[in-house]
Symmetry: C2
Subunit: 700 residues, 2 copies
């Protein structure tokens, strides 16, 4: 394994690895320094004392320098000023005695590549700090780490003395944003790139076309955006700016154009590309649709050659994503000419037909100097090994690709739109499952992973809260050593990072509050508090349940203004409540403080429906969730009864227990597309109440 890392990261990486091995004992759970760093660096060695950060703070760039580094330092100083409110000098210092001396060895590639050296070493002493890195990429990351170190202390602002030697575990650490289903304005993309930089992610995968919209200006085929976007698209100039913005932050931009399926928006302007006659309209519905490109028509390839040629010039990155997923084949089945072509060319089924298309497409992509990447479905042994697979299906699929010689990145487990907890995303590992058994050479083909933000139920308003802060947990999984995997530590650091991310312009916390204000309308303070009490402990239903349970089919024109759209995908209050119950049970239900806090929480929940009632009468959006307010109240009643039984130190009866558990089981179900998060913790309390005075049999 060391050998593979050497070839992957070079000698420097190997030395870091040796150091890492030496230092790992320092980072055991018990000894781990209380550093709020996220992602956790590969190695941290604590020093003594701290470096004072005041308004005299200055930075100097030595070694290799370039305008990007100067802009990076300017951004760093702006951010430092935001963290401290010091009026800092915004220009890099011109003298050697700067507080922070940066040394960058040499330039990175003109067009950022996969696997460039992103390492850095940051040393902080009481006298000053030095940051050294082989390339500007490492320098930029080191600056982010320094920013996370600076905090208020008993004696002013300071960064602790320490030595950090850091490099990423995987070279591909991406976030995908779907700008097709809901258009996402550039300012929103930009602030998410700010967040990616803070989390040390380095690939922005831009899902630019789908059935619901074509979001890029094509000068060769202008009907693509003119007819396929409702006027909501990015101009080529805007895209060039965005790519430059990303490059400034060490982030590659990989564009995705979905084909042969998920491509209705192509057909609105160019119906001749499809496998069935037009006309076509922009699709407003979600899901897998029938329209697909005609892989048997040479005009399709002529079009794609010109189109990809244009886009390959616009997007500088080496990788070019062609989608390739979820073709249902109905248009192919129904087209006589296509069926004849398949027979004539020995293409046995639709899978073979898609493989034929992928091969032709790969040749075009390669002709324009790019390396093709696509979703699992494109995988076919007939494709050259240059192709990279992005796996939404899972580690097995990824491992299979690696065994066949293909490179791959994992997205299964990192679907932000499914509403999983940060801990669940955090546990997903590109080298777990089948991949854990790969040979070292095969493992190297697994480049990393990408979180994906599909936007069926995500708008420009709430997208930040669907991505952050959970995305930072995924970023840590892809950057930090595999051994860094304690969810409690992750959550503690996430709680720290989350408000700081708003300093970068992200709105994941404030949008919740603003959307609740819209839902409430003019409300008294206590009425709004009652809405907040409920909203704080619910989460949207998980996975694809929202589509399955919609009363009316949602479309891209449905307003996203309900409680389910406003609440975070993971409830902090729900998680904390669960921890409190575990703590209480962990003390054999004897801790009076935890017991008292539980009781007071339950009392608030029990009494909440009456407080929410006036709002529910005035606002249809509050009225919709009254049913969950009633459930929360009933839940609290069960919780209070369980606490009372526990206080008596007499086991509750079996019939009581089974009644309560049955009631809780009902509450566990999604209603109005919301889950009531505290249910499972209350189930534990009921078990505890039924287990007798010591709570002994109830496991936290």
């Amino acid at each position: 394994m060391a050998h593979d890392f050497i070839s992957n990261f070079g000698l420097r990486g190997f030395l870091l690895l040796v150091l890492l091995a030496l230092l790992i004992p320092k980072r055991t759970a018990a000894q781990q320094p209380a550093l709020n760093l996220m992602p956790m660096p590969a190695s941290v060695q604590a020093g003594t004392g701290s470096l004072r950060v005041d308004s005299s703070f200055s930075v100097v760039l030595t070694g290799h320098t370039e305008p990007r580094l100067e802009r990076g330092v300017e951004r760093f100083l702006e951010q430092l000023a935001r963290q401290t409110a010091f009026p800092l000098n915004l220009k890099p210092a011109q003298y050697a005695h700067a507080t922070l001396v940066i040394h960058t060895d040499h330039a990175s590639k003109e067009i950022q590549e996969v696997g460039e050296d992103e390492s850095y070493v940051l040393e902080v002493t009481t006298a000053g700090a030095t940051l050294t890195a082989p390339t500007p990429l490492g320098t930029l990351y080191g600056l982010e780490t320094f920013l996370q170190l600076v905090d208020v202390t008993s004696d002013g602002f300071a960064a602790p003395a320490l030595t950090i030697q850091d490099h990423p575990r995987f070279p591909w650490r991406g976030l995908m944003i779907d700008s097709a289903r809901h258009f996402i304005p550039l300012e929103v993309i930009r602030r998410n790139l700010n967040g990616m930089e803070a989390a040390k992610m380095n690939v922005f995968h831009w899902h630019l076309t789908d059935n619901q919209g074509f979001r890029v200006e094509s000068k060769k085929f202008p009907k693509l955006q003119e007819l396929g976007s409702d006027g909501l698209y990015y101009t080529q100039e805007e895209i060039r700016d965005l790519i430059a913005y990303a490059r400034d932050r060490g982030i590659r931009v990989v564009p995705e154009f979905e084909m042969p399926g998920h491509s209705t928006a192509f057909f609105v302007g160019y119906p001749e590309l499809a496998s069935a006659p037009g006309p076509y309209e922009i699709d407003r519905r979600w899901g897998v649709m029938d329209p697909a490109m005609d892989p048997t028509n040479e005009r399709t390839y002529k079009f794609l050659d010109e189109f990809i040629g244009e886009m390959a010039k616009l997007f500088a990155d080496q990788f070019f994503h062609i989608g390739g997923d979820e073709v249902n084949g109905k248009q192919w089945d129904g087209n006589q000419k296509i069926q004849e072509y398949m027979r004539a060319h020995g293409l046995k089924n639709n899978q073979a037909l898609q493989a034929y298309f992928s091969k032709r497409l790969q040749a075009i992509v390669a002709k324009h100097g790019k390396s093709m990447i696509g979703w699992d479905e494109i995988l076919d042994p007939s494709l050259p090994k240059d192709v990279t697979i992005q796996s939404w299906r899972g580690p097995e699929s990824l491992a299979a690709a690696a065994r066949q010689g293909y490179r791959g990145i994992l997205s299964n487990g990192y679907y932000l739109d499914l509403g999983w907890s940060a801990a669940r995303h955090y546990a997903a590992d590109p080298l777990s499952g089948d991949a854990a058994n790969l040979s070292p050479e095969e493992k190297q083909r697994i480049l990393g992973g990408e979180s994906t933000m599909w936007t069926e139920y995500v708008s420009a308003e709430n997208i930040d809260s669907r991505i952050w802060p959970r995305n930072a947990a995924i970023a840590e999984r892809l950057w930090s050593p595999a051994e860094v995997r304690d969810p409690a530590s992750m959550y503690a650091r996430l709680d720290f990072l989350s408000p700081r991310l708003e300093w970068l312009g992200l709105t994941h916390r404030t949008c919740y509050w603003q959307m609740l204000h819209r839902i409430a309308g003019p409300a008294k303070r206590e009425e709004f508090a009652a809405l907040r009490t409920l909203a704080d402990v619910v989460e949207p239903v998980k996975d694809y349940t929202r589509e399955e349970t919609a009363a009316v089919e949602a479309t891209s024109l449905s307003p996203l203004n309900r409680v389910v759209d406003a609440v975070p995908l993971e409830s902090d209050a729900g998680r904390r409540f669960g921890e409190l119950v575990d703590k209480f049970i962990g003390t054999s239900c004897l801790d009076p403080d935890a017991g008292g806090r539980l009781r007071s929480r339950f009392t608030v929940w029990r009494d909440n429906p009456a407080k929410l009632q006036p709002l529910a009468q005035r606002s249809f959006l509050v009225n919709e969730v009254s049913v969950r307010s009633q459930d929360l109240s009933a839940l609290a009643g069960i919780g209070l009864a369980a606490l009372e039984a526990i206080a008596k130190r007499q086991p509750a009866t079996d019939s009581w227990k089974s009644q309560q558990l049955a009631a809780l089981e009902q509450m566990k179900k999604g209603k109005v597309q919301l889950l009531l998060i505290p249910v499972s913790a209350v189930q534990k309390l009921v078990e505890a109440a039924a287990s007798g005075g010591t709570c002994a049999s109830a496991k936290p």
Copy 2:
């Protein structure tokens, strides 16, 4: 008075006034419709039912139209989409059956003037809405009113059916922002212009130069910004953009260049303008400084002629503000040549010398086609009547100017930086005091008022919270009929408007929360809550006490990162607590609900220091306010004792009472530049406790 209004507002204004007179009985406190409109329109007549607002909502412009109106409608639809989350069509409708039909009679002046017709009539029925206005100014205001009407209801989003006939009471409704003492970036200015538009303010007075900075690019005298600004200035192109941005929102931009005093920043680049030899540096301190222009040197006027000529072209508005306040005269006294000049020209004292300067300056300003405006000090009978006075001194000074034939605007009472409550600002009226006794003709010279945001202790980060929401109360004073003056109604509507202002980009609420996070550093939830508990009930010391009580002299380089910088200038929680105490006493201390809520508040406050302690140990910024946390705890102890005495229905002893009142008197004083707001309410409780069982003698 009717006659004056006719000449002022034209026949339309007169008719509106007649309508207003007819309608005023409809708006008595008891009958006032529960409309969350701010400023309250001149007249509102309730209708029946409401107009549903859904994603089919559309707007059509008829009558006079212009690109500004189209942009205004686009902005309106964007804002409506934000309020409802509907994906609304962003282009004005092209058909007659739009939901909202707008008719504008004719264009307004190419360069907006004081006293243009800003009226509009808005009629909402269940079938649709019409907005008619003589000029685009009224149209834009009508759109703002419509936005305030739209809210969530039991049956979707809707606007109530009604007829509004509206026009402003005063033609000059301004906000001044001081960009000199702290540089305020353009994006911050822009979002404040958004807020002004929502509050129907129409003058942005831009304080661009002072001892601490020269913030405008001069191409004729580039050393002004190059040496006088630390690189923090607005380019001419940026200023032109900002003026266009303001015009789009019906806002005039009046620039201010401070002279002959408050002008050190001029002298850094051009010391020859001063009355004492240079060199000069940018001043970092606050207050009145000695440097002043030399009014006896012809070179001064030559410079000002060229400079004002350049600026008069850049700033389109008719008015040109030359400052003119707070010259201490020391440089004049100490300059032999100036003294000789004064003797030679019969200028008896410095006041006469300044009058001489003002006269010369007025001629230059007039030569460049502008009308001069300045602070009280410029007032001198020798000046032509074209001059306008901005009064920081007060209504007497303003009335005196009006009697002498000068126009004036009131700023005394509207100094946002003094930290007054919204209610206190709201009570200040340009036509009160001496001005109430002016003749109708003299009254007409009082054009309105301006709130002023001086930035000694205000940065780009916290400026929104220093201006908003209180500024909306001042805006209402200047727009709405004088009879609209109930503070309770004002606060209720302000509570509604305040979160909505954040949809316009303002950060007055979120910045509080973000700054507290910086102060706390990494904190547990309950630790942060303890900081919030304290911060919610303190306010910065008022008026100029902060300067007087600073431990170390503050300068423009001092970080504004303390609790005093983070907390709002008016404590909502403090105000509500006072209301709760009044309510309790108002029921002869018998209301158990109010009593219970008081007790629980006191208990939280009493126990707060222990909860805050860990943070105070870790953060010097929290540690600083520990002393106030102790006070709050002691205050709560007194409050609990008072409640206990009241519960016994036995008058507390006189000695107890005087002891408690003496302790409270001590707590009332500012410490660490913070006031503890609940003190006066607790004083009332102590009085109530001492007055015997019925609380009879304690007046709420």
